[in-house]
């Protein structure tokens, strides 16, 4: 069995407090993977999932959402294959911030970056300030992935990443884009978890 492993850098953007790291934590902790190496903290996490005949190792870079740190974001999102921009459906302001992020990514971000929009906290829809349809329309207009999530209730968390996997261009033969390597027999993986899974 040969399967190529791709490392995909994913950057998390969005206002502070909208649930960026909760989404990632939920995604990473959700399934059991004995080969995963725990990371130092939730600001950087990884998870490997299988997509068709590839393994996608998501290297998830969280960014600080405070206004005063916003200027630092380019250092984080450069080189990203995808960006997940998170807003809080109960805070309209966070949706406006999201639009600014989209603009900035278009201007300064990697040219073929996959953009995913996640409206978090859909479990508290009583306090909703951003209509799902508005957000969906906006996402469609910029060809972005859109989901409403609940990190709390694990709703649509895996879906974001699955859709990112789908939108990432297939591995080219020329090995560009990501690091690839072949996996050998499964047994060997046990000794190679740091690189393969």
């Amino acid at each position: 069995m040969k399967m190529s492993l791709r490392e995909l850098k994913v950057c998390l953007l969005g206002d502070t407090g909208v649930g960026k790291s909760s989404i990632v934590c939920r995604f990473v902790e959700d399934s059991f993977d004995p080969n995963i190496n725990p990371t130092i903290g939730a600001s950087f996490m990884t998870k490997t999932v299988q997509y068709q005949n590839e393994l996608h190792k998501f290297l998830i870079w969280d960014t600080a959402g405070q206004e005063r740190f916003r200027a630092l974001a380019p250092m984080y999102y450069r080189g990203s294959a995808a960006a997940i921009i998170v807003y809080d459906i109960t805070k309209e302001e966070s949706f406006l911030t999201l639009k600014n992020w989209v603009k900035e990514l278009h201007q300064h971000g990697p040219s073929n970056i996959v953009v995913a929009i996640a409206g978090d906290k859909c479990d508290v829809s009583d306090a909703r300030e951003v209509l799902e349809k508005d957000a969906k329309d906006y996402a469609d207009s910029i060809h972005a992935i859109f989901v409403e999530t609940s990190a709390k209730n694990a709703i649509n968390i895996n879906e974001i990443f699955t859709e990112i996997s789908q939108k990432i261009p297939l591995l080219e033969r020329s090995e560009t884009g990501v690091r690839g390597l072949k996996l050998r027999r499964e047994q060997s993986d046990l000794t190679r978890e740091r690189t393969c899974c």
Binding site: N35, G41, A81
Partner: protein, 737 residues
Amino acid sequence: MKRLDDEPTKSRNRTSLSDKLTNGDSVTQRSPVDLLQGLRLCQEAWNPGSPWDRQGAQAALWGRPPGSFLVVSDSSSQNKLLCVSVNDQGKKVQDFPIIHTGSAQRLNTSHLAFSDLLQLVIFYTLSRDVLPLCLSIPSWVWGLTKGPEHLVSQLGPKAWLCPSSDLLPDTMSPGTPDTQDTVMCTIQLTAANGALCFINPLYLQEHGDDWLTHSSVNPNLLNRPFHSKRDRRLSAARAWSGAGLKKRTESVEDSSASLDSSAGSLVQNPVSPVTPTGVILRRASSSGTSDPQKRESSDSISSPIPQSPHRVSWVEDKLWMNPPAPSSLLHPPCLEFDSLSISSIEEEPDPEPSVSPFQVLNSPRLPLADKVKNRLSAVGQALGGLMNPQKRLSKRVQEMSERKGGSFAEALRGFVEQTLKMRPVCGVTSTEMLQEVRSSLTALREMLYDSVEIQSIVDSLGDVPDFELDVMLEQALHKVALKPLYSHLYEWMKMARQNDGSLQQLQANQHTLKDRSLEELEGTAGAGVPDAAMLEKIQQRWATMHQQYSPQNKVDMLLKVCKNIYHSMTVNAKPGVVFGADDFLPCLTWVLLRSDVVTLQIDTDYMMELLDPSQLQGEGGYYLTSLYASLFYISSFRSRLVTRQLSAEAQESLSQWRRRRTLHCNQSRRSKNRRTIRRHRSSERVDEDSEEVNASASKEREGHWMHVGDVTETLQSLTEISGEEKEEEQNGKSEDS
């Protein structure tokens, strides 16, 4: 670190020796592969999730056969806890916190680190180390296979703890000797037959190699060393009676633990080699690291002594249990002590096989070595992977760098000499200068890839992924290329940053901000900051980081600091709170404001620019970026115009980042053309380099940014990587394509 009380341990071992010989191996008679598989499949059962906590585990384990265990999360510390049923009078169940150090996990009282929980657990079924007894695993675990029919994922702790007739606790293994380092252990599957292979020279010395002459497909063969390890430990305990091992210094412990990162390889730990009295523990290899000539003559790659895939400190260090050798055979103490200094820690104190204590001590079993070797080569590629490839590469690169007239040695010498001659020029940023160094490093690495000698080692490594090879070769290259240069580079960078005023700015802003609380830095209220003791520890780590010449080792140290910071953040936090970058960056900034930011800025530049670009996407890259970002935040801080004022600097930073040729996910990995591209120009290139640097410096003085780009393009087009960047620069597009 916990210091074990040797005496009681030993006496217990002696009394139980006979038991062990009769029934001690029941656990190991089954295939360890099945055990790995089984444990993995039923991890939910022994490592249950959230409702299970310490209390639950304690209750469940109460009265279970000794050795029964569960791993649960400790709600108070976020660590995992290994809860073990023991037969002690006082406590029936004991807890052992499992802590994460970098990417490794270990019991907090032990020095043996494992890359995952599974390996840790399996190890402690075989050896108790710091536990009062070995862990027991229910017999049905061996029978678990994949497939839904077993529904293993639904097995819970109850099933796991169900009394089983074959729980045979093993209380025979003696405790660990008092070594102070964390040692990365790996359990390896051999490629030949998929069996776990634990072989160590001590076993062979103690028990001969008769077992090797049995059929290699007999699974018991490879199991034998499991419990042989216990035998050997027993002998170790005997030999050690009356002789305590000296503790090593704290600083060494800290810094040596940083080396556990390279995959598959392990931490070297120079155990206190010289004690005034008693047993003298020595590494056979010490001379090799101190005296390359001697090593060269006495050393060969194909070693007669198999390197144990399962490394524990006393195996790794080849502590031999025979009576101490006559002092004339020992290396001078000064050499031994050298291994304790921080700088020599990355010297990879290889246990060079051919200086084997077998020979030194004139062991009567010496002739078995060839037999072993032949046998092991029959096992196939497996052992090729067991000999530390990093050491082989490093050694070879070192040799090549010393070879008179060799093309690599010449190119390297040229690079070092030219770099030493360079002087900081006003207007040239340290970033640009370091980028020249980096592209030279890349070119030198390509030369190495092209060389037949390195190629043969690479080929013999078989299936090592390309990026791992890159890392290993980088590490080897740093030793010969950066070690002679790094203090010069520091000077250089410092001067360049002083010339452009950025260091002064940084210090001034540090002064302005230094009394700010975490809240004033927009940190979250729930996150803690390091206390005085932790801050002191962090300062020591920064200092150690500065002493490393290898950017990779610097990053390892940075990760330790970040881990300390995370620990401080979470220590008093409510359970379940997740701290992401929103919390971490202010906390890091808080720490930096209380640190030597000037030195850190230099170190950050050094890492940022000289680290192999492929290393920048992972965890090291993330925290390095955070360090860079945080320093940038401090140096560009404006008290009144808090945010918008930043954008001008942000743009400048952005363009710097665009220029940065690091972090290229598009970088082609060692493709075929890349292998050939460097072949002809190696020796002349270095000279070109320095000329170009000077040229670029003068043009930069004129203030023409793009001119520098053009010049560096000429320079960098020598490599594919740079070629790609050239296009980016010209297109003026975003930094990533």
